[in-house]
Symmetry: none
Subunit: 200 residues, 4 copies
């Protein structure tokens, strides 16, 4: 007997799944309740309003659902990495590889994040995570004299763009791995300490 997450309970999960598919395929702007209801096989949009407090609530549920899925894929690889540099690399590479595993979710999440509005907690969360990572890594000597906030901002946005482009293009696994490595290389070079001899 385990806890029921909020996307369980059948109907809610069904609607969230449908919404994710619609956002990925038709885009955020076209993701109306009508379209989502049709995708979910529901006869009316009232069903959605019944299960969710409003559109924001549904979209927030989508974000949470997608983050669970992406987290399950990325987190183990990030956790397996040792040191600030390796973790940065693991985050970037696993995020790009993710496109091959969950293209629909990735596409939807990118659209959701672009049109963030009030659901931006997760965006700021990741941004804060990166910023903190650069700051502590800098203190540990892993990173050079960078501005943590600016770097976090530029890197997360750059990563999103690469991922979004790959998702839209339907890039294959091998090429994704190559692109991920290239991007990670770029970020590692950009943040490398000036002196040789990395302490970590």
């Amino acid at each position: 007997m385990r806890a029921r997450t909020f996307t369980e309970s059948g109907r809610r999960a069904q609607i969230v799944r449908a919404a994710i598919v619609v956002i990925a395929e038709a885009g955020y702007a076209k993701a109306s309740f009508s379209r989502i209801a049709k995708q979910a096989g529901l006869s009316s949009t009232g069903m959605i309003s019944y299960h969710f407090a409003g559109k924001d609530d549904l979209l927030a549920a989508c974000v949470t659902e997608i983050e669970e899925i992406t987290g399950a894929f990325m987190q183990p690889r990030i956790d397996a990495a040792v040191g600030h540099v390796a973790q940065l690399r693991a985050y970037v590479e696993s995020n790009v590889d993710l496109v091959g595993e969950h293209p629909t979710e990735v596409r939807a999440l990118i659209d959701l994040v672009k049109n963030a509005g009030s659901r931006s907690e997760s965006v700021y969360g990741r941004l804060a995570l990166f910023e903190e990572h650069f700051r502590t890594g800098q203190a540990a000597g892993a990173f050079g004299p960078l501005d943590a906030r600016t770097t976090a901002l530029a890197f997360t946005a750059g990563l999103d763009a690469v991922v979004a482009t790959a998702a839209a293009a339907g890039t294959g696994p091998a090429e994704l791995t190559r692109i991920g490595r290239e991007l990670a290389d770029l970020y590692v070079r950009a943040t490398a300490p000036e002196t040789t001899g990395e302490p970590e």
Copy 2:
């Protein structure tokens, strides 16, 4: 009697100005003809349809107008720079400084670019420009072993994010200059050739 530019004829320019303000303040999604007409002091939306072939036409005019303004600010500084690295730095720094001069236009352009659709010529144009710059710079020995496409994608997106955040926060000129330099430093470090001694 001279040729009429697209934003001339008074009303057209007035509407484009209003549209830019609305997009900057209310966001792309909320930029309806009603809102734009109200901002422009027009009594009806019919006026907008009278001067523009459709919403796409108006938005394209906004993009063109903004690009003229931003180009007038950035281009001289980019042209004054010598060498691939200096030009990259000039582009980044002048783009961030631009926020202090034209915050509304910058905010609007970023929103317009995000919801590009068919008006994406300018987006792809800049992307292609960056990619080509990295490729030729690489051949000239100014840049290291980077993947031109991935780097162009990540850097333009990162730059946009930094600019957008600064624009939204109302960052002051001095801080903008500092952030611009930090970001340029980051990009220069990321793309530096491995060996010492830059040919250019």
Copy 3:
């Protein structure tokens, strides 16, 4: 639980009825959703769009509804007639008599057919029916040396005009019967075989 026909579900039927009345009274060109909604006692046009896929869908439903009504009146009389000539006469006379029973529907149908567009199936259907009737009747010796296509075209149009005029004038039943007989006489004379002695 039985299948739902297209005009069932109350509201749909109500809207179709209102649309027929509006078309009959104000004409096809003026039959806007606003007018129809007002006629139906609805507070907004959105209700119509909710029940019909679009204006074409509503108009098609009107045509179908009217054809059911007219068919129920005319078909028994046509079926009761024996021989090509008698059937032609029955069609014409019952169609003119129909004006007395369902003037609104007749007026609406004629306007709908005039502005057919894509809903012209019923028009072409009747035309083809007439043409085929003349062709087979000719082979059976019931009709003379006529051009089936031209005759079908001229007769259906002539019948419509007579019906439309009678409907507009509010002609009474007795006069309708007389006019119908006159028109049928005209058509029968026009198509009579040259030789005496009708085989059928």
Copy 4:
């Protein structure tokens, strides 16, 4: 020095010509001032409102213009015919032949007549002409025991339908002549006196 007709004076004629073309090609419903102005090479619809009292005025001018053209083609052939029957035949045949000479005008006129409204003088004029023709012809023994009003109604409508179909199909001259003869035959047979030996 001759009298100036109302469609002369250059601009008026130009607009009427454009309107006729638009009605013929795009249909009555799509014949807006914008479309007509564009067809006429005018930069604004104001020009049309300046020269015509309103849309009805313009459309009436179109009808008059077209009737002048069609009259010039048909009238000589009708006048050349001797006797009621021959004149009926001449009217029908020359009207169908007219499609080959002035397809645009014919198409436009048919659309104008269908959506007659207040411009129906010409329609009623022709109808009255036919009715009178049948009545006098009947008195002269040229026609049989027909109802003049019903026959006039059915025949003019039938003729219009044949003409409209031929115009829409782009039927060639030879086929037009054949169809015209078939239709005239039909009408002549329908109206023939019962006894043999025509007095006229």
